[in-house]
């Protein structure tokens, strides 16, 4: 056995050029896989992070039925106690209450239908980036409940500027007409049209007042440590709440985003497939050449009484060595690239417009996912071994006499 391993190893060293070609094919293949996967992973994390931190949050808690039909009647009473309970759960970073209702907003010149969201300014800042997206003016404050934040696009439609008064009209929980006048304190520009044209923010206290929702709220938005853990974290939270609540990870709240990501991951498999074919051809080519070139040597080995299985194991060892060295190179290449760009970011400014539609920034930060690296490694290594079966079979099938004659 040791001798066959030795022969296999020496064959690799003997033909440095050929070995280098194989090692490069394996190395580039694995490097590319690791890098592509971490790029996509980074893009997806950014996408979900941007999307969820804009308004949805990682997890939403409602009275059951709110997701299906958002009504004021579907609310949670005594929410401050609930808030305190959830905030103390281990995976939770921040939690903020929101009252959500539809209404009509009017300036002196025009009016528009909008979603009115009552938010707790302090808590909301810990959870979403709405406050950070104020372009002019400022976010809602703790001191007054008369302020309103509207989208920059909406302000343009209504022809209002900072400091103007606008009126919100809707129906309150008790069925009465809800009507309130607010002063525009900030204009937000989130890049998402549905928000910039269709959402207005008032304080939670103002909303409780406006909609006759004292002590009640429509939604608790939760931020957890890692957006990827949304599903298990949601399950964990729901186990500790009465069954009259629905606890929804972002995937359930925004199935469209989830579908984008799944589509993207499906697309990656095509790339993986292509890369594997390239790797397979590279290895097959060199191993096959190596076998054909050594026909006489195999003939001698067979002639001396070497068993076919031993010849096959020799070629398998050769491929394994090449695969292992190639994988080591690929690992270094892929991880170096991924980790470097994880810090430096990949600048895709050229595609800014398209990226924004998908909640991505111009800078993408690849993220190395351990299980994807292990999987790529497994994939490339097993390909390199499987591909050696054919040349090995060819060599073992040789008749020693033909090989010896082919001098």
């Amino acid at each position: 056995m040791v001798t066959f391993i030795k022969i296999a190893w020496r064959n690799i060293v003997r033909n440095k050029k050929r070995s280098l070609i194989t090692i490069s094919a394996v190395g580039f293949g694995l490097g590319a896989l690791i890098f592509i996967w971490s790029f996509v992973e980074g893009a997806h994390v950014q996408m979900t992070e941007n999307y969820t931190s804009l308004v949805t949050g990682h997890i939403q808690i409602h009275q059951k039925g709110f997701l299906q039909q958002a009504k004021l009647e579907t609310n949670m009473a005594g929410y401050p106690a609930l808030l305190a309970k959830i905030r103390n759960m281990p995976s939770v970073v921040a939690v903020a209450p929101r009252i959500k209702a539809v209404g009509l907003i009017s300036s002196t010149e025009a009016s528009a239908g909008v979603e009115v969201i009552g938010v707790d300014p302090t808590e909301e800042k810990k959870l979403s980036r709405l406050a950070a997206r104020i372009k002019t003016g400022q976010f809602l404050g703790e001191t007054t409940d008369q302020d309103i934040v509207i989208g920059a696009a909406l302000a343009k439609n209504l022809n209002v500027v900072l400091g103007d008064k606008i009126v919100v009209m809707s129906q309150a929980l008790d069925g009465s007409i809800a009507s309130g006048a607010y002063r525009v304190c900030g204009l937000m520009d989130t890049g998402a049209e549905e928000i910039d044209k269709g959402v207005v923010l008032i304080t939670h206290a103002a909303a409780e007042n406006l909609f006759a929702m004292a002590g009640r709220t429509s939604e608790l938005a939760v931020r957890i440590k890692n957006v990827k853990d949304a599903k298990p974290a949601a399950l964990q939270i729901s186990e500790q709440l009465p069954s009259s609540f629905e606890v929804l990870p972002w995937q359930t709240v925004s199935p469209v985003l989830q579908q984008w990501i799944e589509f993207d991951e499906g697309f990656i498999w095509i790339i993986v497939f292509v890369v594997m074919i390239v790797v397979a051809i590279g290895i097959l080519n060199t191993v096959l050449m190596g076998v054909l070139e050594r026909t006489r040597e195999f003939g001698i080995l067979l002639g001396l009484g070497t068993q076919r299985g031993q010849i096959i194991s020799m070629i398998a060892w050769e491929s394994l060595f090449l695969g292992l060295i190639g994988c080591l190179a690929g690992l270094i290449l892929g991880l170096t690239l991924s980790l470097y760009f994880h810090h430096a970011g990949i600048d895709l400014t050229v595609f800014t417009a398209a990226l924004n539609t998908f909640y991505m920034d111009a800078l993408i930060f690849p993220r190395v996912n351990f299980s994807q690296v292990v999987f790529s490694l497994f994939l490339v290594l097993s390909t390199s071994i499987i591909v050696s079966i054919y040349p090995a079979w060819l060599a073992a099938r040789l008749k020693p006499i033909d090989a010896i004659r082919s001098l």
Binding site: K6, I7, I300, L301, G303, G305, I401
Partner: protein, 229 residues
């Protein structure tokens, strides 16, 4: 009692569109233990074919090769492979050695296939290399040795595992006459020392003179005793 016996062996090669080339026709031959025998004959007379069949490297079209009461020509390939490993030693015309192994490792190779203990293997291989005059070359790779030295390694490898029969197909063909003579002299000495049977093909008269028996082939037929070519 012969060591190995060739019985009514014929071999016809079929190539291309049913072109038949008769290489051996109805050859009968006894090889006794301890012989030092040359197979002679002009090019194309069937020397290599006969040696390949004797060496279980090729199958006859008809006839049998009897060793120890068994027809080794009728064995399945894996058993032929064991027969070659356990009974035979081979020296081919050239490029006999495994390029990736040193002289010592080449000589050890067959003993390794036979699972000889490492220490014993090494001792025997070193002793054999010394015996063929290559004490200073044991760690050389084949491409670091001359053709004559490589053939000596091949002889050492064939002998190291103590075979019953060494088959050599024109072992001196690629060597100059002085080197050729010293190689055949070495084989002769080993034959007398170890009583190993040697069977070698050659058309070199100098080499032939060293043989104690010469078997003549012409057009695939055996001519014995010696007649003119």
């Amino acid at each position: 009692m012969p060591l190995i016996e060739v019985k009514n062996v014929s071999k016809t090669y079929v190539t291309g569109k049913n072109i038949e080339t008769p290489a051996l026709s109805d050859v009968n031959l006894w090889i006794g233990p301890g012989e030092f025998t040359a197979i002679a004959g002009p090019s194309g007379s069937g020397k290599s074919t006969l040696l390949h069949i004797l060496g279980a490297l090729d199958f006859p079209t008809a006839g049998a090769v009897i060793y120890n009461g068994r027809d080794i020509a009728a064995l399945p390939p894996d058993e032929q492979s064991l027969f070659r490993r356990d009974v035979l030693g081979f020296v081919f015309q050239a490029y006999n050695l495994i390029n990736t192994l040193t002289a010592l490792e080449n000589v050890e190779y067959i003993m390794l296939l036979k699972s000889v203990e490492p220490v014993e293997r090494r001792e025997k291989a070193v002793a054999m290399l010394k015996r063929v005059g290559l004490a200073d070359y044991i760690h050389r790779f084949p491409n670091e040795m001359s053709g004559g030295q490589q053939q000596r390694v091949a002889v050492a490898r064939a002998m190291a595992a103590e075979p019953d029969l060494v088959i050599a197909d024109e072992p001196t063909a690629n060597l100059d006459s002085k080197t050729a003579l010293s190689l055949i002299t070495l084989m002769d000495e080993l034959n007398q020392e170890k009583k190993t049977t040697f069977l070698f093909a050659t058309h070199d008269p100098l080499v032939m003179q060293k043989a104690r028996r010469v078997i003549w082939l012409r057009d695939g037929k055996l001519i014995e005793p010696q007649t003119e070519i």
